[in-house]
Structure formats: C-alpha cells, structure tokens
Amino acid sequence: MPSEIAIAAVAPNAAPTMEPIVVFENVSIAFDKNSVLEDVSFSVHRGETRIILGPAGGGKSVLMKLTNGLIKPDSGTIRVFGEEVSAMREADLFKLRARIGMVFQESALFDSLSVEDNVAYRLHEEHVPEAEAHARVVEALKFVELEQAIDKFPAEISGGMRRRVSIARAIVSNPDLILYDSPTGGLDPITSTTIIALVVKQRDVSHTTSLMITHRLQDAFLLARNHFNQQTGQMEPIANGGVDDSTKFLVLNDGKIVFDGTTEELVHSTDPWLKEYLA
C-alpha cells in the first residue's frame, strides 16, 4: 500500500549535500557521576536506517534523546542536519525538531487528547487549517492501519495500537529523520512484527533516515532481512537471503560503541562479547 505522506517525505526538505544527517563526535555524558555514554562517535547518512542494539541500561535511549537535543552532552559535539544540537538554544531546537519525528519507548501519547488530536498535535501547533490537518491525520492513521481508532483516547486502545499511533504522530509532518526508541519494547511477538513492518514500510517507501533502538535481535534482523513490497502491500524477506543495504548496526555496551557497521559485518564479527551477545 503506497503512502502519499511517506513518498512526500523524501523530497521537500532534502538538502543537496551528502553530509551525514546525524554525526556524534566524542560524545560523553554522565548522570550523578555514573558514566552513561563514553566517547561515542558515529555518523548516519541520508536514507540510512541505523539499528541501535545493546543490553538494557547501555545508554541507547540517552543517545536518542541527545540526538533530538532533549538532553545535552557533558562533552563532545552532536550535529543533526549540519547544525550543532549540543550547542543550540532550546528555542532554536524547536525549529530543528520540526524536521525530526520521534517514537517514544512507552509511546508518550498525551492521555488527555484523542488519537486524532495526538497525531495532529504538531499540525495544530503549526496552525495547519483544520480540514487539511484532519486529512493528513487520516492518511497517517491509514499508514499504520488504525484509522478506525481516530476518535478514541489513548487509555481506550491497546499497547500495540498506542505504538502505532505514536508512529503516525511521528510521520504526519513528513520528517527528514525518525527516531524510534524501542518501538517494540514490551509487546508480544505478533504485534512487534506489525510494528517492524511499519518501520520497514516507512524505510522502503519514503527512504527516511532513521535510528531505531531495540534490544530484541529478532526485530533487528527482521528489519535488515526484509523489504516492503509495494505491489502486495506486505513485508517480505529479501530474495536469496539478502540484506537491506541501507540498514546498518550500532551496538552499545556499558556506554561504549562495540560495533559500527553493516549487517554482514555484524554477523561475521569475531569480537567475543559480540558473538556471545548475538548467540
């Protein structure tokens, strides 16, 4: 099922430069003297889907919040779309965040607003006319196959549905970068696969640059080894056991990067910790 909103996401804000979309340079951060990230450096290029793997408490969610400027690093620089978010004022960050969609670990839907108002939140803030906002919300909800829940409140829908609404809220403004913070965390395997299928769909239809945290290896490899078939509207395994070239991995452990590379490089890694982790 091709999506107009997803296709539209590629073109409008694309800069003619090949500079990476996200760049971390020697980033460190500690909370209450406990080091959470230590000298982290990596970059994510346009159209790339970067899967961030690692054990719980390894600093993955902190890394995601740093990318969006929700927290500041103690040292190092973070550049997103060429702008240094680690040194920007909050007022300037609000403008930058208009180009970034974020899916939170526990959905973080506004519980006093309906599904429609949640998805339309950014559109309302941008004073988009009500009719246009409604049409775009319906389109985004169709993308996540949840248009029937438009009038419901977050408390009235399941955990999986809340994640899908959260994805709809993140993509409704056609962002150039999407941050998925454990979109499948705490969900059953079937619902997790549905969520991953949506991430694959967004990746293959719109080619939006994205970072996705997961601690479930099966979700990570599902994302790397499948593609979205626009004719059938289904997620399908890539032929001959292939992997998606735009999907790369970043593995964190104890706040340090232990792997940064492609799917093939990851599965053939000889690092003892990594082999044990992947086993």
Binding site: K65, L70, L93, F94, R97, F104, E106, F110, E125, R169
Partner: protein, 259 residues
C-alpha cells in the same frame, strides 16, 4: 532519606532555588512573545477560577459567620457588639479573605498542577511535547500562572463579600443587630488602603500557587510515588510561602498606608 554533607545539601537547595527562579521568570516573560496559548489560559481560568468557587464561597461564608460569633463575645464586654461589622469587614478584607482563599486554592490547585504535570513528566509526555516542537513552560506553566493570578484576585473579592454576608447573617439572626447598621459600620471601617492591601495579596499568592505547583510537577521523578511526593511538597511549600509572603506584604502595606 540518605544523609548528605552540608555542602552538598546547600548546593542542592541553591540549585533548586535557581531552577525555580528561572522557571518563574520564563513563565512570566513568555506572555510577551509568541506563540501564546490563549485557549489554555481560558481553560485554566475556568478550571482554577470557576472550579474553586464552591470551596471559596463556603470557606469565606463560614469564616465570616464564625468571626462575627467569636468577636461578639469580646465586644460584648465593652458594650460594643454593634461594631461587629467593623471587625468582620476589616478582618475579612485585609487578612482572612486573601489568606484563606490563597490557602484553599493552593490546596486544590497547587496539588492539581503538580500531579498533572508530574504525571506528564514521568510518562515522557513533556519530552514528547518538546520533541514535537512545543515549549512545555510556554504551553503548561504560563497559562496556569496568568490564570491563577487573574482568577485569585476575583476569588478573593468573592470571599470577602460572602464573608461579610456570613457575618451579617450571624449578627442579624443570632446577635440581634440591625442589618443596616452592620453594613454601614462595615463600609465605614474600610479605607482605600485596606482594599489595596487585601487585593495585593492574591497577586502574590496566585504567583506562588502556580509557580510552586508547576515547579514541583516539572521536577517530578520516580514514577507514581514521585508524583505523590511532588503533590504533597507543592501544597506544603505553597501554603507556607503564602503565609510568609502575607506577613511581608502586610508589613510593607502598613508601612505605606499606615494601617
């Protein structure tokens, strides 16, 4: 509660005061630049102002009643029961109206603000708001601040009025005073300085209620237990601040108006 060194304790407290001051400053100045959330201001006015009406009316009315009843006993000794109106009007307008209204609204709304914003904080809704390009201080704190200051001013007038009316009811029905004399004495007892003093206090109380409630809400951590703690702290700190600031404002006003 773990023991910390005096230095760490002092630093924590100073940092908290700094954070509170910064939050309050931003909450105040946000109204002078866009985007302004007028709809939220009106919603909060309805919630804080109209929603607090029943408790303010009941508290004010029965405070006036009991004030008349208690003061009559003392005034009787001097043969001055007819001055009950003076005493009730002065006490209500200068002190009890503003302070009791502040305390009642604090109990109802500081806690409400702390729990509502605190729940949003622990469920990452504040981060989501920032990620969606909205400043939570502008969207949540500024409307609550201006709505509370504006509505508390009028709630205090209502409390003063129903307090004097309560005093009148007791004076007429239980003390056998003439209603006309009561109201005439009440009116004569008050001068402009008393009214100014009584209506300056809710401006400070409103500021304290909103900023303290929102501050504790935005600093909430530790899940639902943290929300409960923030709620309690907000009410306690706001109530104590209201009483302290009431004393300071009273002293300043007495210095200005001489009574």
């Amino acid at each position: 509660m773990p023991f910390v060194s005096p230095e760490v304790y002092a630093k924590e407290k100073i940092a908290a005061i700094q954070d509170y001051a910064i939050l309050s400053w931003h909450a105040v100045i946000n109204i002078f630049s866009g985007p302004r959330y007028w709809a939220d201001i009106f919603t909060q006015m309805d919630s804080i102002g109209v929603g607090s009406m029943p408790i303010v009316v009941l508290t004010g009315f029965f405070t006036g009643c009991v004030l008349a009843l208690q003061s009559a006993t003392s005034l009787q000794e001097f043969g001055s029961v007819s001055l009950t109106g003076n005493l009730v009007a002065l006490s209500m307008v200068k002190e009890l109206g503003p302070v009791l209204t502040g305390l009642m609204v604090s109990g109802r709304n500081s806690s409400g603000m702390a729990s509502e914003i605190g729940s949003m904080k622990v469920t990452e809704q504040l981060d989501a708001m920032r990620a969606l390009g909205t400043d939570p201080v502008r969207k949540l704190v500024t409307p609550r601040l201006y709505a509370t200051v504006f509505m508390l001013f009028f709630l205090t007038i209502v409390a003063d009025a129903v307090g004097i009316a309560g005093g009148a009811l007791v004076s007429v029905t239980l003390l056998g005073l003439n209603a006309s004399t009561y109201f005439h004495n009440s009116y004569r007892a008050l001068v402009d300085g008393d009214i100014v003093q009584g209506l300056t206090k809710p401006l400070f109380s409103g500021f304290i209620i909103a900023t303290v409630g929102c501050y504790f809400g935005m600093k909430t951590k530790g899940g639902t237990q943290g929300v409960g703690k923030a709620t309690t702290q907000a009410v306690v700190v706001a109530s104590v601040f209201i009483i302290i600031v009431d004393f300071i404002v009273s002293r300043a006003m007495i210095g200005i108006f001489g009574r």
